[in-house]
Symmetry: C2
């Protein structure tokens, strides 16, 4: 190409107060510099939308430094090399990149660690079940949840890419799995397609009673990616020595202040003590040493259709903001992706 | 002796509402049966008073089944064999027993696992630093807290038998130790006798600010045995990957209802997630496999005066209720014991 590239990108226009709105994002335009020695020019084809992105829009301490106003929003992408000044990358190569909410990105070739083969699994799996969300499920179960055969595992947001993978891996490990989702379609998917032992709708007025009835032997692993009233219903049902890997709290990402009382923290700490619970926060990169094992084992499961996945595609970079806003409300049904290149 | 033994014992007269009162206990009297084959008659000389006893006075699920009204209160004792129908025990032998709040107990000889040697360490250490509280400190640090040299550990109730031992072991392991206690005498003890790096009084009006100033590098291990406002001050200061072993929550044992709002649980879960925290409840028996190592290592430390301890003695079985009531208020200065035999 070797000529200036016009790049559309979505930047943080304002810090959201509570739920993000359209005006917190702005579609911007720039001319990209050409790649220099060691760099590659990538075209983003698919952008991953993930709940963690909400946290990065706030000021203050989070996983990583927050975005500044005017910064391009970050995100994992499936991208194709357009131009390369790096010996290991050639035009046409596919790669998993942290390409962001934009058409193109210039990246250091050395930072691109995962080459994608479009002939084995669909490329988009690298953003979902065979990427960060799937590895979150795998690592959180392997290192913290450790479901044993016959134990009961509960997971919420269970039709999402983390939850669905958690439940299916736990089934493969011999656990009894209760999945929680919002709405009858998702519940039916968990029950009829993913083979969960029980699937519950958290919108049911008697949800807490349904959950209690669904776990006659209590809960040994609660994979926490939601928080809110699901956690509230789970807490009293946890067994002695239960494990609670915490990888997300999407019910709270739009909170602007602590909810009204009573203060349930002392009661929760009391249960942690009296039931010998382990509650542990993590992100998948904490266990990056497991990644090769994940790629091997999950790759085999996917090729053998022992793990299934769903995708939920938003068309067009310009619709990514609405895609994220909806994701935070639970509108997605499966892994939410933005198709940037039609 | 071989004649009927009159036994004074203290029974649960009523379930406390909030802080226990004298009327919740009753001094009772009974004639003990003589030991049968395999049993021993023990005279309790020293009774341990421990915060966990408050939980057992409630109805409902706790570590173990709750007491019923009329039951003798349980507790660890240093006892001497009076009469033995068991081949391995002889009159005069000293033993660590779960003898309860009473003068005598008939025990199965096979259940007595720890013979005490009065010529090495003082017998009472088997109820404190060289017993359950000391092992709680040792095991919680070894299995969960894992302080590394140079890391910062914070412990509350730091002049009590668990806290003082936690702080001293952490110092031996190379950590920087901040101890928290109530009142100037206790604070001076931590600083001047136990050699903690910093000692703070939680009663100070600016306690939270003092704590923040005392941990310029944040907190890597918070050994939780108190809860309440100390935990509140600690939470925002925890570092990424901090560990919080939870072995007690004495500030809440007399709670009758959740405190007023706001609800701090979502915020705490948010910190567990964003800072990759591990919060784990335990009791020492979860790690009983470590006990021989504890006896060996702690025994050496005690003989070499590398670990110091304090005792706080209440005289007379009839004063045990007031001893426990005061313990739950933090009136004790060191390990609280009841001397049953003058």
């Amino acid at each position: 190409m070797s000529q200036a590239v016009r790049n559309r990108r979505i930047v943080l226009a304002a810090r959201p107060r509570g739920e993000p709105v359209d005006g917190d994002f702005r579609l911007d335009d720039e001319v990209l510099p050409l790649p220099r020695k060691g760099q590659v020019l990538l075209r983003n084809h698919w952008l991953s939308l993930d709940p963690y992105m909400r946290g990065r829009m706030n000021a203050g301490r989070s996983y990583v430094r927050p975005l500044e106003i005017g910064d391009t929003l970050g995100g994992a992408t499936v991208a194709q090399v357009v131009e390369s000044m790096h010996p290991e990358w050639a035009p046409g190569d596919w790669v998993l990149a942290y390409g962001g909410w934009q058409d193109y990105v210039v990246a250091e070739g050395d930072t691109l660690t995962r080459r994608l083969d479009p002939t084995t699994l669909p490329l988009t799996t690298a953003l979902g079940v065979y990427g960060m969300p799937g590895f979150t499920a795998y690592a959180g179960l392997h290192e913290i949840g450790r479901p044993k055969p016959g134990e009961t595992l509960v997971v919420a947001a269970a039709s999402g890419p983390v939850g669905a993978t958690v439940g299916q891996i736990a089934k493969l490990r011999g656990a009894r799995v209760v999945g929680i989702a919002g709405g009858e379609r998702k519940v039916a998917h968990l029950r009829d397609e993913l083979g969960f032992d029980v699937a519950l709708d958290h919108r049911a007025p008697d949800f807490a009673a349904q959950l209690a009835a669904a776990v006659p032997d209590g809960i040994d692993v609660y994979f926490e990616n939601v928080g809110g009233k699901v956690f509230e219903a789970v807490l009293p049902l946890l067994n002695d020595f239960a494990r609670v890997p915490v990888c997300g709290l999407v019910a709270h990402y739009n909170d602007t202040a602590p909810p009204p009382g009573p203060d349930r923290l002392p009661q929760a700490m009391g249960l942690i003590l009296s039931r010998h619970l382990t509650v542990r926060g993590f992100i998948q990169s904490d266990f990056i040493g497991l990644y090769p094992e994940f790629l091997r084992e999950m790759g085999a499961w996917l090729r053998e259709d022992r793990i299934l996945y769903r995708e939920d595609v938003v068309d067009g970079l310009e619709h990514a903001p609405q895609g994220l806003i909806g994701l935070l409300r639970g509108d997605n049904f499966g892994k939410r992706l933005v198709r940037i290149v039609p």
